[in-house]
């Protein structure tokens, strides 16, 4: 199977944290930033490149629009990320772009600039802290289950394809059907997640069953449905 090629713009704390996770998943990726910010990335042995992201020709030189499968815009300034997203979108209209917003107002701007997914780290941290205060046990359970790597839990996506083993099956019988102990959360359809839809309704092609199971985020192709469960 073809390995996905990822480009990460920004090699400070956030970029390095993402790079470490991707290294664990054996992804092929390149960290891009100014030369003075790449020192730590070089020490950790990551593939790095120093370019001027404001120049389209230099973006094209690192594969934007030509072979890059996923772009992370994790620069320190919101304005930089918006500019980079617009530039990358014009060069690669179909490549998924994930951008980080440091201010709440920037989320909309990044979506307008063409980002497919916008991550608001401060909002996520705030929400986590609020949960730690309101529901300390729930917060602890999420921490030990989703942040323990291979020892913890991870999400699974089970695509329902024409002629596949899942078509026509009911959600109620799915858990017994799968080889690994998975907790089925619901179904993704048309970009929307439906939590705990009717258990007796047969699954249709095009739907994606979302589940949680043991181990960290599995690599694509590890889906139990493809194992001929």
């Amino acid at each position: 199977m073809k390995t996905r090629r990822v480009v990460i713009f920004g090699s400070r704390e956030l970029g390095l944290a993402v790079a470490r996770q991707l290294r664990d998943l054996h992804c092929e990726f390149t960290l891009i930033d100014r030369a003075e910010h790449l020192r730590q990335a070089e020490i950790e042995g990551f593939a790095v490149s120093s370019i001027d992201y404001t120049r389209d020709s230099e973006l094209a030189s690192v594969g934007i629009g030509y072979g890059v499968d996923l772009i992370f815009c994790l620069l320190a300034e919101d304005a930089q990320n918006v500019f980079l997203t617009i530039a990358a979108r014009s060069l690669a209209p179909h490549t998924p772009i994930v951008a980080v917003a440091h201010a709440a107002d920037t989320v909309m701007k990044l979506h307008a600039a063409g980002a497919d997914q916008v991550i608001d780290p401060q909002g996520i941290v705030g929400g986590s802290i609020a949960r730690l205060i309101r529901q300390p046990l729930v917060a602890e359970v999420i921490q030990v289950s989703l942040f323990q790597g291979e020892r913890g839990l991870g999400f699974r996506e089970l695509p329902v394809t024409d002629g596949g083993v899942l078509v026509g099956r009911r959600l109620a019988e799915l858990e017994a059907l799968l080889a690994t102990p998975l907790l089925v959360l619901g179904v993704l359809e048309g970009g929307r997640f439906h939590f705990r839809v009717d258990w007796d309704e047969p699954l249709r092609a095009g739907q994606v069953v979302l589940a949680i199971g043991p181990g960290a985020v599995a690599a694509a192709g590890d889906d139990p449905s493809r194992d001929g469960a």
Partner: protein, 533 residues
């Protein structure tokens, strides 16, 4: 046989020793709180009652101008005056500890082997009491009682003092006087100028107009009256200058009056604007003193905004401390309690017992250095408090734990996890983003009680009680063996998605997923079972 002075001394010393008893001290202390402690609820109630009483008696006096007071109103007035007099005496009593002055003199005399002389001690006590009697508020209190002495109708003017007495009981009026007293130099200068202008213009107009047959100014008092009315720009028009010289003086006085008004307005406005921050902080402190089990949020940046808005939605009492005034203003505009203060300073946390009133402190300033310092300060002040901190850099996580934080949250770890999710399972990334941010399908911990319908029953029973909810897992206190995945959880165990035969025991915590309303309904239903069984 003891002489009269000796007997008096003995009696006085016995009385003084009696005043050292705990019951006496307790009573006096309670009265001090009632009369002087602005933070006491008893004082607030007392002040409100006194305001009502004063207003009622003033109402009686006003009614009496054209009507005859009914008997009950006369009795009400007598009772009110009795209360005012009692209050005056109590204030005089709690003003100092006279008995300690006498006992100290006696002990000093005994230590130096000299004869104790009662009269000098009593003179010292009298001087101390006189300090109170001669104080402005005590004089107002005394004069406010006098209008009740009906044979002296002249004393009705002292009714005004009863109105002034309201100052004692009203915080806003007290603050007004404080504001004005802070500007006393400017007010004194203004007073001198006004006095000079009134005197000079009154003298001038009297000299120019008194001998004019058309003029209404017949005495110097008329001239002073005219000068004050003109300087204040009121201008009734009852006295008008008739001569050219008099009109010239009037012109000068009118221009001066505008200057005086502008000056006095600017003094008051500047005094209030300087005082406004203090007044606002005082209001916040008073609000904080009413709070218990609150959350203290140190830092109202982006993360602080999210935390505060979630807790505000839950009606969780909270207080925000930030050293950026603009952020404090923003929080206050959003209806939150916020103080402009540095949370790392002991006195800030000790003021109003903030460190004891809070059950959780959240250290989320922009700087990891500040967060470490705040965590350390709070931990030293209250070893039992819960501290949650945010680390901007991974290196700071360990330092925050060492400083005393119970939980440390960092954005980088979460974003890294999301990145991994986005690479391989982009469709479910949104759900994870919502799960990490505390949104989307909710998760609730529901405890299995002793009388719960789920106690001592298999997990499968949950499907009958709440088919719409999803059991994410069960947290147990014991080392129960079960098939499936079991993760350690600080002295407990988390059983992920346990098999349907897994037996639930009292004390187990069910981690249930579902929509907010359904989770709430299930919790209520379980509690309902508990009540009926």
């Amino acid at each position: 046989m003891p002489t009269l002075p000796d007997r008096a001394t003995r009696w006085m010393l016995a009385l003084c020793r009696l005043a050292e008893t705990p019951r006496y001290q307790h009573l006096k202390g309670w009265l001090r709180v009632l009369l002087h402690d602005d933070h006491s609820r008893h004082k607030q109630t007392f002040d409100s009652a006194m305001i009502v009483l004063i207003m009622v008696t003033i109402g009686c006096f006003l009614y009496e101008v054209h009507h005859r007071l009914p008997v009950w109103a006369l009795w009400l007035e007598r009772v009110a005056v009795g209360i005012f007099a009692l209050e005056y005496l109590l204030r005089l009593w709690v003003h100092d500890d006279s008995h300690r002055l006498i006992l100290r003199d006696y002990q000093n005399a005994a230590a130096s082997d000299q004869r104790f002389r009662l009269l000098p001690s009593i003179a010292r006590v009298a001087r101390s009491k006189w300090d109170y009697v001669a104080s402005p508020l005590a004089i107002i209190d005394l004069l406010a009682i006098l209008p009740s002495y009906r044979p002296l109708r002249m004393l009705r003017i002292f009714l005004l003092f009863r109105v002034i007495k309201l100052f004692r009981y009203t915080q806003s009026l007290k603050q007004l006087t404080q504001v004005l007293s802070e500007k006393r130099f400017e007010i004194y200068t203004l007073g001198l100028f006004v006095g000079f202008m009134v005197f000079a213009s009154a003298t001038g107009i009297y000299l120019m107009e008194a001998n004019d047959s058309r003029s209404e100014i017949n005495s110097f008092f008329d001239a002073v009256y005219w000068a004050v009315i003109t300087l204040s720009t009121v201008g009734y028009g009852d006295i008008t200058p008739q001569t050219t010289e008099g009109r010239f003086i009037t012109l000068i006085l009118i221009v001066s009056g505008i200057a005086v008004l502008s000056f006095s307005t600017s003094i008051i406005v500047s005094a209030f604007s300087e005082r406004l921050v203090v007044m606002r902080e005082r209001r916040v402190h008073l609000e904080v003193e009413k709070l218990h089990d609150m959350v203290l949020i140190c830092g109202y940046g982006r993360v602080g905004e999210v935390v505060a808005s979630r807790l505000q939605a839950d009606r969780q009492p909270l207080l925000i401390l930030d050293h950026h005034q603009s952020r404090v203003d923003l929080a206050q505009r959003r209806g939150l309690l916020a103080l402009h203060a540095d949370a790392s300073r002991n006195e800030v946390l000790e003021e109003a017992d903030i460190h004891r009133r809070a059950h959780t402190v959240v250290c989320i300033t922009d700087s990891d250095v500040s967060n470490v310092f705040i965590a350390l300060t709070v931990r030293q002040l209250n070893p039992a408090i819960r501290i949650i901190a945010r680390a901007s850099h991974t290196d700071s996580i360990d330092k925050l734990y060492r400083a005393g934080a119970d939980s440390v949250v960092t954005a980088n770890e979460m974003v890294g996890l999301l990145a991994a999710q986005l690479v391989n399972h982009p469709l479910s990334a949104n759900l994870l983003i919502h799960a990490l941010g505390g949104q989307g399908p909710g998760m609730e911990a529901v405890r299995v009680g002793e009388n719960s319908p789920l106690a001592h029953r298999p997990v499968a029973a949950l499907a009958d009680l709440a088919p719409q909810l999803l059991l994410f897992g069960v947290v147990t206190d014991d080392r129960r063996e079960a098939a499936g995945i079991c993760l350690p959880l600080r002295g407990r165990r988390f059983h992920f998605h346990p098999p349907s035969t897994f037996a639930l025991r009292p004390g187990d915590q069910l981690m249930l997923m579902g929509e907010g309303g359904q989770l709430l309904a299930f919790r209520k239903r379980v509690q309902g079972y508990r009540l009926t069984r």
